[in-house]
């Protein structure tokens, strides 16, 4: 395969620009390989995050030709190479340097979500019983590798910058995994409604489209959570009932 031109974003929070690099592409190469090759050949200070190079850790998220991708799972063969390939960092988070952005906000949000609280063990030896059928849907959510691509494409964060009021798809998936866990006894619905702003989501499904783990984020996590919130807080009969309920 030929030499390909890459336009890589170089810069920091104060600004930057695309810079051109040429490198040879061989069979089976992924975008992350090209970035490493450029690093080794001509730009040792070019910042990029990665770990497993197998789509399991979710570190190398970036935008390749404008599409949010894991660089390690994006094959060069699937990209047009007759024109430059652009690589830039995720746009919904502050830039640190080059392809690396500050994703610490995600860690802060997660910390605020109430943790797993199991019911009393089912057996004398302190263990529980759960049927596979009952854990299948939770296991889908637990495939999440926290690449934050879903957060990156969500317009509530990317365009409207509601980071203070909106937890984003990743954290709805996380909350859904807890809420639908057969053993969990905690209630997170009020937090979802008030602090985590699930109402902002207008189910455009952009998050689902970019998920490298193919989690059906909108249909299986967000919509059921929205329904639960509506049932609990916006059901007129329940509302009436609550009005007459003695205050605690």
């Amino acid at each position: 395969m030929p030499q390909v031109t890459f336009k890589v974003w170089r810069g920091n929070k104060d600004g930057g620009q695309f810079k051109d690099y040429q490198t040879d592409i061989t069979e089976g190469m992924v975008v992350l390989d090209a970035v490493h090759q450029i690093q080794a050949e001509s730009a040792p200070d070019m910042a990029c995050r990665w770990n497993c190079k197998a789509g399991k850790c979710g570190s190398c998220s970036a935008e390749v030709n404008g599409m949010p991708k894991l660089m390690c799972m994006t094959r060069m063969e699937d990209l047009p190479t007759d024109k430059p390939v652009t690589i830039e960092p995720m746009q919904a988070f502050p830039l640190i340097r080059d392809l690396v952005c500050d994703v610490s906000w995600n860690y802060e949000v997660k910390k605020k979500i109430k943790k797993f609280k199991p019911r009393k063990p089912d057996a004398q030896d302190g263990t529980w019983r759960m049927q596979q059928d009952d854990v299948d849907r939770v296991q889908e959510f637990r495939k999440c590798i926290e690449c934050f691509l879903c957060q990156n494409v969500c317009h509530v964060l990317r365009d409207h910058h509601k980071h203070e009021e909106f937890a984003g798809p990743r954290h709805y998936v996380y909350t859904a995994a807890l809420e639908m866990h057969p053993l969990d006894t905690e209630d997170r619905l009020l937090d979802l409604k008030d602090d985590n702003g699930i109402g902002y989501c207008n189910i455009t499904k952009c998050c689902t489209k970019v998920c490298p783990e193919h989690i059906t984020i909108t249909d299986n996590a967000i919509i059921p959570l929205k329904e639960r919130v509506v049932d609990e807080y916006y059901d007129p009969i329940k509302k009436l009932f609550r009005m007459f309920k003695p205050k605690k």
Binding site: E27, G28, R75, K115, F116, C144, I145
Partner: protein, 604 residues
């Protein structure tokens, strides 16, 4: 004077994979202050790569299983060079650690009765691996992470430790830098737990990430700690071989656990051709019995594909060497063939091995439900590491503890698949517990400012190399090629000596490894600093390999192809000598306790 910020903790944990997180949870829950250093972001450590499962004698699938069988399997797999006390503790405590993960929110696959499901794996007599499809490591690290963030642990993400700070012979802190702006940090600590993982980046073909540069091994060595068993590096038999850019990426042993078979270019299941004597009675000699085993027939013996990793890797090397390999220099691993036996094979494979399905589909354009995979050995795991006390996990340096892959003892000459994840939580917990105890019993030490200034100057040096500056990536890549060629799967005296000589050259080159521009998130600078650790572990491996004149477990010498009873009496220990050079010593294995010896005998 170079500037730095200071943080102070009772217990400092370096490394945030399974072992580090578990140690930090233990410490923070015991009323001491605890800091946790991640080289990457939290939750990205190498534990996410573990696929197959975590071994624990729960007996959920086969109630004949017990801690004693697990113990005997671990010792046999490790060719009896294991620290037998650690193997005993591990087998006894693993079930409680698995159940604890469930209490913290892990959702493992289930049996029909709703218990935790367990699968077959190489070297384990009974189905023993608790798992979630083929992403068990992700489940473990996420569970520990999501539990850990509520325990009051102070997490320092993207921070790299460069040197341990000493007072007399005791460890009192760590000198580090943060990636974002390259600023220096001094961590003061009463006790430190090392949980930095392995050394796979010393080799060209590896399943390990950039982080695996032997930091913990090297930091401990420089602080005066003993390293043990460094000749034993596990080459996992099944890594991807094609296309070239994915060479080395792991293909889980779970593929074989679910019935996958190994074949050569002639279509022959070559694993039937060479079954070691110690496993003859427990291994099937025909395909029909092997299939019955993987489908749960308790009377059947396991197929030879599920022999230990060292043996399977050697058989693959032999097939390739003798011209019966696959087109790209591996052999075939076939799971699609199970459609001969079960009707909904395609769905079954996707359900049981989802990430393998995607990995091959997306990286190699191959559908594993229809075609065989091409695989070959890849550097995977180091059995050797920091020598620890079996009860407390303390190294030979007071105040310095170690757990997980960077510690040694449990696995001996070869680790069984599934024993790593259980190792992380069993000994992570213990290290956290004993580090806490140490921190409560000892006051904080004094940081030596001279040492801090000296290491800070060393860390800045790559920006000022002058004329002889060399690209650190080139040095690292050349080193990996040499280690793969001369200290790889098959070794001999001549090549090991050449490697040792070669390492002297690399040491000189590393002093010219340069960095450019500035210190903000600079991978070139980082690589220039990492080289020192890679060189230390490379030398420890080569010296230990040269000193073991036999072939045992993961260590294969073509000039000493057989096992030697004499050589098996001890472990190789490496430490830094008074003159700064690396010293090696053979240390006798303490006689095994009577009751444990009997368990081994009964399980033979």
């Amino acid at each position: 004077m170079r500037e730095f910020t200071t943080h102070e903790y009772d217990v400092l944990v370096i490394g945030a994979g399974g072992a580090g997180l578990r140690a930090a949870i233990e410490a923070a829950g015991s009323g001491v202050t605890c800091g946790l250093i991640c080289k990457s972001l939290l939750g990205k450590a190498h534990t996410v790569m573990a696929e197959g499962g975590m071994a624990a004698a729960l007996g959920n699938v086969d109630d004949r299983d017990s801690w004693s069988t697990h113990f005997a399997d671990t010792m046999r797999g490790g060719q009896y060079l294991n620290n037998w006390r650690m193997a005993e503790i591990h087998a006894k405590e693993a079930p409680a650690r698995v159940n604890e993960l469930e209490a913290w929110g892990a959702v493992m696959d289930r049996t029909k009765e709703g218990k935790i499901l367990q699968r077959n794996f190489g070297g384990h007599k009974y189905p023993r691996l608790a798992h979630v499809g083929d992403r068990t490591g992700l489940e473990m690290i996420r569970t520990l992470q999501d539990h850990g963030i509520h325990q009051g642990i102070k997490v320092h993400m993207e921070v790299t430790v460069i040197e341990l700070l000493m007072e007399g012979g005791r460890v009192v802190g760590a000198f580090a830098y943060e990636r974002e702006h390259g600023r220096f940090i001094v961590f003061k600590a009463k006790a430190i737990v090392m949980a930095t993982g392995g050394i796979g980046r010393a080799f060209k073909i590896t399943s390990n990430s950039w982080e695996y540069t032997g930091d913990g091994h090297s930091l401990a060595y420089e602080a005066g700690a003993d390293l043990i068993d460094m000749e034993f590096i596990q080459f996992h038999p099944t890594g991807m071989v094609w296309p070239p850019s994915v060479r080395g990426i792991l293909v889980t042993e779970g593929v074989r656990g679910e019935g996958g078979i190994l074949t050569n270019s002639e279509g022959r299941r070559f694993m039937f051709d060479d079954i070691p004597d110690v496993y003859k009675s427990s291994t099937s000699d025909n395909e029909e019995e092997g299939w019955r085993y993987v489908t749960g027939d308790k009377s059947a013996r396991r197929p030879p594909e599920l022999l230990t990793r060292d043996h399977v890797a050697r058989c693959i090397v032999r097939e390739v060497k003798e011209g019966r390999g696959s087109p790209h220099g591996g052999v075939f691993l076939d799971i699609a063939w199970i459609k001969e036996h079960i009707p909904n094979a395609e769905e079954h494979i996707k359900k049981k091995l989802p990430s393998m399905y995607h990995q091959f589909k997306e990286l190699a354009g191959l559908d594993i439900t229809k075609e065989p995979m091409e695989i070959g050995p890849t550097t995977h795991y180091v059995m050797g590491g920091i020598r620890v006390d079996s009860e407390s996990q303390m190294s030979t340096v007071p105040g310095l503890f170690a757990a997980g892959e960077c510690a040694a003892g449990l696995h001996g000459a070869n680790r069984l698949g599934g024993n790593s994840l259980s190792d992380l939580v069993v000994f992570g917990k213990r290290a956290g517990e004993h580090a806490t105890k140490y921190a409560k019993e000892n006051s904080a030490g004094q940081i030596n400012n001279d040492q801090v200034q000296k290491v800070a100057a060393w860390a800045e040096a790559p920006f000022d190399r002058g004329d002889k500056a060399e690209n650190p990536f080139t040095i690292q890549s050349d080193l990996q090629v040499m280690m793969q060629d001369k200290v790889g799967i098959v070794r001999e005296e001549k090549e090991l000596n050449e490697a040792l000589q070669g390492l002297e050259g690399f040491k000189a080159r590393a002093e010219h490894a340069s960095a450019d521009v500035n210190r903000d998130y600079n991978p070139g600078w980082h690589t220039a600093l990492d080289l020192k650790n890679l060189l230390t572990v490379s030398e420890a491996t080569a010296r230990s390999a040269l000193a073991r004149n036999e072939s045992r477990g993961a260590h294969t010498r073509i000039d000493h192809p057989d096992k030697s009873e004499e050589e098996a009496k001890g472990n190789n220990v490496v430490r830094k000598g008074a003159d700064g050079s690396m010293q090696i010593e053979r240390v006798a294995i303490p006689p095994i306790r009577e009751d444990l010896a009997q368990i081994i005998e009964e399980n033979k």
